[in-house]
C-alpha cells in the first residue's frame, strides 16, 4: 500500500470537511431534508439568545453547558457556519492529537498515519462535525488530557478534566483509571513520567510486567495510605474545583434551569422513544408507572459491573481502558444515539497499534457485524417512524443484536490486545509490596 504523508492526510481531511460544510448549506437551502443536525439549530438559537443577554435555556431542548452556546455566539454575529467550522477544526485537532499520542509512544510513522485515518476518514466522524454536532470538541479534550498526563502535566490534565466533566458528564467514568494511573511509581515530583514505547511493550508483555497488581491482604493499610499520593490528591482537588466552579458560576447565572437541563436531565434521562439501547422498549412499556427502586438498580448492575472490572483490569493501559470503558458505557446505556459513537471512535486509533487483530478477517468481522447490526436496527426504525408499521418487537430485537455486536467487538479487542501500560516505573519509586498475578 502506498504510504500517505500525515500532512497530505490532514490537508485532504480539511478540504473534505470544508466541502461538506458548503454542501450542507446548499442542501439546507434547496432540499426539504436538511443536512444540518437539529442539535445545531438548538445550539444556534441558544447562542442567539445569549448574544441578546438572555438565558440559553429559553430555547427548549438546549441541554448543554452555557459554554457551548457561548462558543457559538459568532453564529449570530458573523455567520451561521461558524460553529460547524469550529467543530470541524476540533475534528482535525483530534486527528493531530491521535498522532501526537502515538508518536510519544514511538509508534512507527506508517502505523500512526493509518491509525489517524481510522478517525479522519471515518464517515461517522467527518459528518458529525460538519452537520454541526459539538462532540469533536469533547473528543479533542479527552485526547488532550491523555497528552497532558503523558507529559506529566498533572495540573493541566486536572483542569481540562474538570472542564470536560462539566461539559459532558460521561467522562466521569475515566476518573478511577486516571487516579489509579497516577501512581508514585509513575509520577514523581520534578520527574517527567517515562512512557512505554511501542517496541518495548512486547517485551513487557512477555515478562508479565504489564499485568495487574493485587495488594496482599496483610498490607491493606499501607496500600490504602499509598492511594493518597500528592499527584492523586492534586488531580482530584483541581478537577473537582474546576467542575464545581463552572457549575456554581452557571447556577448563579441561570439557576435551576441550568442545573436541570445541563446536568440532572442527563443523570436521570430515560427516553421511551426508540433508540439503539436495549432498554427503550422496556422503558416504553413501563412508562405509565414509575420504576421500582429495585428495577432501577438492576438496570445499572451490568454497567457498573463491566466498568469496575475494566478499570481494575486495564487501568494501567490508559487509552485501551478508556476505549473499552467508553464502548461499554455506550452499549449498556439506557439511551443510545448515533452521536455517542464518536466518544469511542476517537479512542480507537489509540489502541490499533497494539492489537493483533488482522483486518482480514477478524477486523472485517468486527466492522461488518457492528455496521450490519446498526443498519438492521435502522431499517426497523425507519419502518416504525417513517412508514408507521408496528415493528416494536422487531426493533427491540434489533437493539439486542446491536448489543451483541458491541459485546463481540469488545471481547475481540480484549482477546487480541497486546498489554501495554502507558507508564514505566521510575527509579526510586514507590516500594512495591504487592504481589503480581499472571
Amino acid at each position: 500500500m502506498a504510504t500517505i504523508s500525515f500532512r497530505s492526510l490532514m490537508l485532504f481531511s480539511a478540504v473534505l470537511r470544508l466541502f461538506l460544510i458548503i454542501y450542507g448549506e446548499w442542501q439546507d437551502t434547496h432540499m426539504e431534508v436538511r443536512y444540518t443536525d437539529v442539535d445545531y439549530l438548538v445550539f444556534s438559537d441558544a447562542a442567539s439568545l445569549m448574544a441578546l443577554g438572555k438565558s440559553p435555556y429559553e430555547r427548549s431542548t438546549y441541554r448543554y453547558s452555557p459554554l457551548i452556546a457561548f462558543l457559538l455566539i459568532p453564529n449570530a454575529l458573523i455567520h451561521r457556519t461558524w460553529g460547524k467550522i469550529l467543530f470541524s477544526v476540533s475534528d482535525l485537532l483530534v486527528g493531530y492529537f491521535i498522532r501526537t499520542i502515538l508518536k510519544l509512544r514511538g509508534v512507527p510513522e506508517n502505523l500512526c498515519t493509518y491509525s489517524v485515518m481510522a478517525w479522519l476518514l471515518n464517515p461517522f466522524t467527518f459528518t458529525i462535525g460538519t452537520r454541526g454536532n459539538c462532540e469533536p470538541i469533547v473528543c479533542a479534550m479527552v485526547l488532550w488530557i491523555i497528552i497532558c498526563l503523558m507529559n506529566g502535566n498533572l495540573l493541566h490534565a486536572a483542569f481540562w478534566y474538570g472542564l470536560i466533566v462539566h461539559l459532558r458528564i460521561y467522562p466521569i467514568i475515566y476518573a478511577f483509571p486516571i487516579i489509579l494511573t497516577l501512581d508514585q511509581s509513575h509520577f514523581q515530583s520534578g520527574k517527567k513520567p517515562i512512557l512505554t514505547d511501542w517496541i518495548s511493550s512486547k517485551i513487557q508483555s512477555t515478562n508479565g510486567s504489564g499485568s495487574i497488581k493485587v495488594t496482599d491482604p496483610c498490607h491493606i493499610w499501607v496500600s490504602l495510605k499509598s492511594m493518597f499520593t500528592r499527584g492523586r490528591i492534586l488531580f482530584g482537588l483541581i478537577s473537582a474545583a474546576v467542575f464545581f466552579f463552572c457549575t456554581g458560576f452557571f447556577f448563579y447565572l441561570y439557576a435551576w434551569e441550568f442545573l436541570h437541563e445541563a446536568l440532572l436531565y442527563h443523570l436521570t434521562r430515560t427516553d421511551p422513544r426508540h433508540n439503539f439501547s436495549i432498554y427503550f422498549y422496556h422503558i416504553y412499556l413501563h412508562y405509565e408507572h414509575e420504576f421500582a427502586l429495585s428495577e432501577k438498580l438492576i438496570s445499572f448492575l451490568p454497567q457498573v459491573m463491566v466498568q469496575l472490572v475494566l478499570i481494575w483490569r486495564f487501568a494501567q493501559d490508559l487509552p485501551f481502558c478508556f476505549f473499552l470503558q467508553t464502548l461499554a458505557f455506550v452499549a449498556f446505556n439506557k439511551v443510545i444515539t448515533a452521536q455517542y459513537f464518536v466518544w469511542f471512535f476517537c479512542l480507537l486509533p489509540l489502541v490499533l497499534p497494539w492489537t493483533n487483530m488482522k483486518l482480514k478477517w477478524e477486523g472485517w468481522a468486527c466492522i461488518l457485524f457492528w455496521i450490519g447490526a446498526q443498519s438492521h436496527w435502522l431499517m426497523w426504525g425507519y419502518l416504525l417512524e417513517f412508514n408507521g408499521k408496528h415493528v416494536f418487537m422487531q426493533l427491540w430485537m434489533a437493539s439486542l443484536l446491536f448489543l451483541a455486536a458491541n459485546t463481540y467487538v469488545m471481547v475481540t479487542f480484549i482477546l487480541r490486545h497486546t498489554s501495554s501500560p502507558v507508564f514505566k516505573q521510575l527509579e526510586h519509586g514507590h516500594s512495591n509490596i504487592s504481589t503480581k498475578i499472571d
Binding site: L285, L301, L352, N387, T407, S420
Partner: protein
C-alpha cells in the same frame, strides 16, 4: 405557550401586529378542554360582528373547509386543509389598505403535536403569514405525560379579495404534525381523531385614527356533515409484551456483561508474545 414571536425576533418583525386568538385562552386556562375553548370563542368573537364594516355595508368573506386529509406515513405527517373562500357575487371591498387573513385554529388531539421551530422555518419561507403553537409544546414526552396543544395559522387572502374577479377561491394549507408515543394498547395501534378546525377571517384596515381589525368566525357545518373525521393510526406498544421484554432485556444485559467480565478476567498477557500488527 409557544408563541413564535417570543423566541424569534425576526418572526416578530414579519407580523409584528399579529394577534393570536388562542393566546388569550391560555392566559386563563391551564390546559385545552374543547368545551372551554368553544365557550371562549363564543364570548370573545361574536360571529359576523364588526361595527366598522357594518357601517360601510361591506360584505363579510366566508370561509369553509372543502377538503381535509392527512398526507404522509409514519410519525411525521401533514394535515392538509382546503379552505374555500366565498364572496357575494358582484360585491367589492372599497376600504383602502385592506388586508385580510384566513385564520385556522387546529385544536390538536392528544397524541399529536406541532413543532414550533418547524413552523418558524415555514414562516421564514413565506408559507404562512403567521403561525404559533399554544399549550403543551414539549417535543419529546409521550402522550401519557403530555397535554394537548393548539396550532394557529394565518394565511394572507387580502389580494385575492381585492381582485374582485373571483366569487370563490380555494386556499390549500398544510400543517406539519408529529405523533407522540401513544399509550399502550392491546392490538398495536392507537387511533387519533381530528376534530374540524375553527376558521376565522380577520380584516385589518386603516381607520380614522388608528389601525383596526375585525374577526369573523366561520362555521363548517357542511364539511362536518359530509366528511368523517380525519384519523391517524399510530403504532403503540402492546401491554402483553411487558413481561417477556423486561426479562429478556435484563437477561441479555447480564449475559453480555458477564461475557465481557469473563474475557477481561481471563485475558492473558501472553498474547503479547504474538507478532504486533503488521500493516
Amino acid at each position: 405557550v409557544g408563541n413564535l414571536d417570543d423566541s424569534n425576533p425576526s418572526s416578530s418583525a414579519l407580523h409584528g401586529v399579529n394577534e393570536f386568538i388562542t393566546e388569550a385562552y391560555f392566559e386563563n386556562h391551564a390546559s385545552l378542554i374543547d368545551s372551554d375553548f368553544q365557550g371562549f370563542i363564543s364570548k370573545e368573537i361574536p360571529p359576523e360582528f364588526c361595527e366598522v364594516l357594518q357601517d360601510k355595508l361591506e360584505p363579510v368573506p366566508k370561509l369553509s373547509i372543502s377538503h381535509r386529509h392527512l398526507i404522509g406515513e409514519g410519525s411525521h405527517r401533514r394535515l392538509s386543509s382546503s379552505i374555500r373562500l366565498e364572496i357575494q357575487p358582484g360585491s367589492k371591498f372599497t376600504l383602502p389598505a385592506h388586508f385580510c387573513d384566513a385564520i385556522l385554529v387546529e385544536r390538536l388531539p392528544s397524541g399529536v403535536f406541532a413543532d414550533p421551530f418547524e413552523l418558524q422555518h415555514l414562516l421564514q419561507r413565506g408559507v404562512f403569514t403567521g403561525a404559533a403553537v399554544f399549550g403543551d409544546t414539549n417535543l419529546e414526552l409521550p402522550s401519557v405525560r403530555s397535554n394537548r396543544s393548539i396550532v394557529e395559522i394565518h394565511m394572507d387572502i387580502g389580494p385575492n379579495i381585492l381582485s374582485g374577479n373571483n366569487n370563490g377561491l380555494e386556499i390549500n394549507l398544510e400543517v406539519p404534525l408529529h405523533a407522540r408515543y401513544a399509550p399502550l394498547g392491546e392490538n398495536g395501534f392507537s387511533r387519533i381523531e381530528f376534530s374540524p378546525p375553527d376558521l376565522f377571517t380577520r380584516c385589518s384596515f386603516e381607520g380614522n385614527s388608528h389601525k383596526q381589525s375585525c374577526i369573523f368566525l366561520s362555521t363548517n357545518t357542511s364539511f362536518e356533515l359530509k366528511a368523517g373525521a380525519v384519523v391517524w393510526d399510530v403504532p403503540c406498544g402492546i401491554k402483553k409484551h411487558t413481561g417477556i421484554v423486561s426479562v429478556v432485556t435484563f437477561f441479555s444485559a447480564i449475559v453480555s456483561a458477564l461475557l465481557i467480565v469473563f474475557t477481561a478476567f481471563h485475558y492473558s498477557d501472553t498474547t503479547g508474545c504474538k507478532n504486533l500488527k503488521q500493516m
